[in-house]
Each structure stands twice: as C-alpha cells, then as structure tokens.
C-alpha cells in the first residue's frame, strides 16, 4: 500500500476516533503486517475462463431451447445456398435473355438440396493438425532492418485497422515493405525511430493449470457447392467458348453487384468459404469531387473533418441495421466496437487541421469462441469488419463473413507463466521494438494481468492456408509510451500452445542491410536481406 493511501486511511479513522492517533506508528506497523499476511490466492485464469464458458453455455442452451424461432446465418445454410444458386441462375438467365449467350439446356434446374450446415465443431484426436509451428504467424509479423548504426528494428504488421491509421500498411513481402519504407531516402536510410520500446509486466501472478487445450481449425471449401454451381454454368453454351469441353470444373468465386446508387458488390469465395461485400465503385462516385481538377480548395471541401465523424453509437446503430436488413446473424459475435485506432495519432498530432482523417468508420463484431474473444496477431479483435463511408453516409463494406464450422484438436499448453511472461515482455507475436543506440530514449510499455482468449493464426503447410484459433493470453497495455506514438495496438498476445511458442524467442529474423554506396540513382536506398544467426536480442 502506498504511504499516501495508508496515511489517508488513518486520517479517516482519526476523524472518528482521535485517540487512535497516539498509536500511529504501531497502527502503521500493524497494517503493514496484516497486508503481509495476505494469502496468495493463486488466481487460476484457466479456471475463470472455463467457468465463464460453462455458465454462459448453460444459459445459452436453455434460452435457445426457449426460443420458438431461431435464425442461424450461414452461407452454406440451405436458405442462403438456394438464394446464391438462384442468383447465379438469374444472372445466367439475364445473359440468355439478352442474347449474348445461348442456353442449350433449356432446363437450368439443379438439385440444391444440401444439408444445412449450422454451427458445428467436430472433435478430432490430439495433435490432429500436425505441428502448429509451421504457421506463418510469427514469421510473418517479424521484419528486420539493419540501420546505419548497426542496430535492429522489427515491425509488427498489424492486420488491422485497414482504415484507421490513415497510413499505408506494410506488405507481407519484405521487398515491398522495404521499398515503401525507403522511398526517397538518400545514402544510408533514415527509417529508424530513435527510441526503443521495452515491455514490462506489471500484472498479478497468474497460475496456468491447463496442461492441454483445444486448438480450432476452420472448415472451409465446400466442393459439392462449387461443383454444382460450376455445373450450372457448364450447361450453358458461350458463343466464344465451349465450356463443356472442360472437365471437373469447380466454381471458386461468384460476384454479384447491386446496380443502383450506393450499390454493393457481394463476393462469394468458395475456396475460403467467405463472403465479402464492397462498394460497387461505379455507383459510389462523387461527381463534384471528381470535377475538382487542380482546385485544391475544392478538394479540401470534401475532406473529412472531425465533426463529420459519427458517434460510436450512431455508427453501431447503422451497421446493426445493415446486418438486420440482410439477415446476417450475429450469434457468434460479441458486442460491436468502433475501430478508433486512428484517433491515437490524431490526438497526439500537433497539426490537427491538416491531419488526414479517414473517410471510413469501421465497426468490428468480435468473433467469439467458447465465450472468449478471438484476436488477431496484433491483439485486435478478429471478426466481422463493417465499414461506413462517411461522405455517403452508408455502409460500404463487410469483410470475412464465414460459416462457424470448426474442427478441434487437443494440444499441449504452456503452464509456466514465467515463460509466457517472458514472451509477452518481448512483445508477444506482434513485436514492435527498436533497439536504439541511444539507451536514454527507451520507452517503457507496461502490461497488465492477461485474460484468456484465442489468437487467429494461419498454417501454410500442405500448400494451403489453414485458419487456426489457438488458446492465448491477452495482455492489456496499461501504460503507453509517453513521448512516442506507439503503433502496435492496445494488447500484447501470446499463444499458449507450446508448439507455437517453443522457438518464438529464438527465431532468426530477416535483416535489411544498407550498403554504403547507394545504388540505383539518387534518392534510392538499397538493402539486402540476411537472416540473423543465433539468438538476437529482441528487446533492448
């Protein structure tokens, strides 16, 4: 207890019983002694997590049983499936009517009688997904650069926000990232912020008793559906192409557009089993702005002002209405939140008048699993992202609507919290650090007691990308750097699966080396990429 607080308590006691004051030293000593007696509760985060899931599951099951009618959106759901098939049919029919293509079959009726696939989680044997360490996760987020001063930088690439920061995100391809970073640099590159980030755990001790936990793999790729839709098209004769001459066709994508003002494009990705909605850009033009030409004043009149940003509650009402209008179930998602990450930069900006405010507001519907939230590798919520075009005041996009179908398999979890803490103090999976030669510019980031959740990561083995949800601890950043903008999100996330973290602190990182003499003309820096050997210190 802080001295000030202790004195304050005693002062309140003296106010009621002044005779206590003469024993002040004894009372202080006694209170300190009592505090020292406090037992270690050994708070078990896994217990808390599983209890929450059990309690909420019980109530959910009973409330579901009480419901007379439920709607479960799933794009492999029979209703939607038929709708998608019908739309495809309709689109083809339009072509036929317009005379562009000739329909030979005369009967475009297909059997769409698939079984409805609702929320399903299929339990597999332990370790069924093979090694988790093959995931691209941690290697994907690490970037390195060898600066002129010979130090190391690594940028964690936040997968979100797309709109929020008002800045270009880095590509996963190192060369592209490098070229973006060094554009305009002359000689040795000046891309390093001159400060270091140091993560320090300030939370309470945590006991991890769960030796094994389920990892989830999203099921995707409905071959029956894609084959059937391909067969639907295959019955049509195209004037320039005999589609029937091809064999074993599958449909991979289907796009539909709304042909109206502020119309949307709906894209069905059958490989990924996802639906994405975006603007039908031809219907979102602003003629007056397009006619601005060189007139800067005209352009400025269309710039978003801070007063144009809708309140969070208004934005959420707008996206909720959109979801309801299109019968998109939110059963598997948590309470929506507005992605206000861009505001961090805005608030610290000294030139607010010229600060670029994004034209889109993004509302996130966090994906839930066992009552816990799922996070991306930056610690941000993973789930549905719905965007609102502020100028048009309309919902303009939706990302990653996927069926809730998973397989689960048990994996060994880390139970030594010290090991997890060590990884968290290295920035977790989303390392944002730079080891500055000027040690006096180290910025400390404080981490609080973690909560349980899942991290969304990808396994690129077997020639395809598999989406995995892995048990993880989410450490909230309780104290941000005071003098530098920290672009790493509000959480640090550490997977609990041993397989995924065993080498996390020792993995080699790519380095970008500068050459003394610039090559390729003035204004361009050149780097080469080299692995770091051995155990490079991750954080100064």
């Amino acid at each position: 207890m802080q001295e000030v607080e202790l004195k304050n308590i005693l002062a309140q006691l003296y106010a009621l019983d002044p005779s206590l004051k003469e024993y002040e030293n004894e009372l202080i000593n006694l209170i300190v002694k009592i505090e020292n007696l406090k037992p270690d509760t050994k708070f078990d985060i896994n217990f808390a997590s599983s209890l929450k899931a059990k309690i909420l599951e019980k109530k959910t099951i009973s409330s579901l049983n009480d419901k007379k009618e439920t709607f479960n959106f799933n794009f492999m759901n029979k209703k939607i499936y038929i709708a998608a098939g019908s739309l495809a049919f309709f689109a083809i029919l339009l072509f036929v009517i317009s005379g562009t293509y000739k329909n030979n079959s005369g009967v475009l009726v297909t059997n769409l009688n698939h079984k409805s696939a609702g929320n399903t989680i299929t339990k597999l044997s332990a370790g069924a997904f093979g090694t988790l360490a093959a995931t691209g996760g941690q290697t994907q987020v690490a970037r390195g650069a060898d600066s002129a001063s010979g130090k190391v930088m690594s940028l964690g690439v936040a997968t979100t926000p797309e709109m929020g920061m008002g800045a270009a995100s880095l590509s996963s391809a190192p060369n592209v990232a490098v070229s973006n970073l060094v554009a305009g640099a002359a000689g040795k590159m000046m891309i390093m912020p001159q400060y270091s980030f140091k993560y320090v755990y300030k939370g309470e001790p945590v006991e991890l008793s769960e030796t094994n936990g389920d990892v989830y793999r999203r099921l995707k790729g409905n071959r029956d559906l894609s084959k059937e839709l391909a067969g639907l098209i295959g019955q049509t004769n195209f004037s320039d192409l005999d589609i029937k001459s091809f064999s074993n066709l599958n449909m991979t994508n289907l796009s539909l557009i709304e042909d109206k003002d502020k119309g949307l494009m709906i894209n069905f990705d059958f490989n990924e089993d996802s639906i994405n909605i975006s603007e039908n850009w031809q219907k979102w033009q602003i003629a007056e702005r397009d006619a601005c030409g060189d007139n800067q004043q005209c352009w400025d009149s269309f710039r978003i002002k801070i007063s144009d940003i809708p309140s969070d509650s208004d934005a959420i009402v707008q996206t909720n209405n959109f979801m309801a209008a299109h019968k998109i179930s939110l059963e598997n998602y948590g309470a929506p939140e507005v992605d206000n990450a861009w505001r961090d930069g805005y608030e610290t900006s000294t030139d607010k008048a010229n600060y670029y405010i994004p034209e889109y507001v993004t509302v996130i519907y966090p994906l839930q699993l066992n009552g816990e939230s799922v996070r991306d590798q930056s610690g941000n919520y993973a789930g549905l992202r719905v965007t609102i075009d502020i100028l048009k005041n309309a919902v303009s996009g939706l990302n990653s609507l996927t069926p809730y179908r998973y397989e689960s398999s048990s994996y060994e979890l880390e139970t030594n919290f010290d090991n997890i803490k060590k990884i968290a103090e290295n920035g977790g999976l989303n390392r944002i650090y730079y080891s500055s030669p000027e040690s006096d510019k180290t910025e400390t980031i404080e981490l609080g007691t973690p909560t349980r959740g899942y991290i969304q990561t990808w396994n690129y083995s077997n020639g395809r990308s598999e989406e995995l949800l892995v048990p993880a601890l989410i450490f909230p950043i309780t104290k941000m750097p005071s003098s530098q903008f920290y672009y790493g999100g509000k959480n640090v996330i550490v997977p609990l699966a041993k397989d995924l973290i065993k080498d996390i602190n020792n993995q080699p990182m790519p380095l970008f080396r500068t050459l003394d003499a610039p090559v390729g003309g003035s204004g361009s820096g050149v780097m080469e990429i080299a692995p770091v050997s051995g155990k490079a210190p991750l954080v100064k």
Binding site: I28, N29, F47, I55, L56
Partner: protein
Amino acid sequence: MAINIQEKDDFDLVLEAQAGNSESFGKLYDIYIKKIYDFVYFKTLNKDVAEDIISLTFLKAWNKINQFKNGSFAAWLYMIARNSIIDHYRQNKTTINIEDCWDIADKNDFLGQVDENLNVEIIREAMKNLKTQDREIIIMRFWLDLSFKEIAERLDKSEGAIKMTLGRSLKILKTQVPLAIIILWPGIINLCKKLN
C-alpha cells in the same frame, strides 16, 4: 443520488443481461471474477473449495439475474458469494464457524514470510479472535483494497460504521500483538522512517 461510472456501467450491463444478453453478463463476470475469487479465497483459504463456491456464485447470479432490482450489483454479487460460503460450510461442517473458515485455517494457508512464521502466526491468531464481520472489514480494506464506501455497500452498513469498526479492530489487534513483534520488524522500521 450520485452514481459512479462503474455502477452505471454495471447497471446497463445488468439490464442487458436481464434481457437475455449473455455477453453482457460475460462482461460483468470479467469485471468481478477476480474480486469474487479473492474474496471467497480469503474466507475459505482453500483453492478447491473456493472454486466450487465461486462457480456456484456466478451460476446463481446468472440464473437469478432477473431478481436483481436496483442498488449495487457488486453488493448483490458479494451477498450471493457470502451466502454460498455459509451454505457450503452448513452442508459440510456444521461444527465450525459457518461464515468463514478461519477457525480451521492452517498457518500454511497464509503467504507470510518464511523467516517470519512466528510473527505471522501471532497476527493470524489475533485476527482469528475478531468477530467474523470485523475480520471481513479488515480483509476487504487491506487485502481486497476496497474503499470504505465499497465495503459499506457490500455489507449494507454506513461508511462511518465501517470506519468505527475498523478502528476498533485495529485497537484490539494492537493490544493482542506484542509490541516488540510489531516494532522490530525491519521492513516496518524502514516504512516508519519514510512515513515520519
């Protein structure tokens, strides 16, 4: 009546939970699990027993959420926890104090210091001699770090009564714990130097 932000947030969440929103109850759970965990553990001093009681506490709270009308959700939750502890000991050990288990606690149940076992034991014994609720106020103020206002809400008493009780309890403890033990503890001496 003034209402603090936490209470307002709680109240909104409770209303949503009463409408069947399990996620809102999940948020209440997140806010209070650690606090209730500590509270129950400090009263039971047994991890397994504490976890059973905590499970029961939150299950009852969720099942009876519609019975919560107004006031402090935290106080309501603590009341359920306290009643669950009493129920537990009533069902299992009727011969001991059924409001907490300090009567049967072992010195090893406390953190203490390895080289301070004797002192810890004396303080623990002294605390054991307090009335259950007086001890609870000490636990809430110094172990759970609750303010007097929060303690008053949870125990349905006035802040003044809580302070009076705490002052009285400290006086009792002071008389029961030998002066030498209190004064000679090096850590305390250092703190005294800082404070004086």
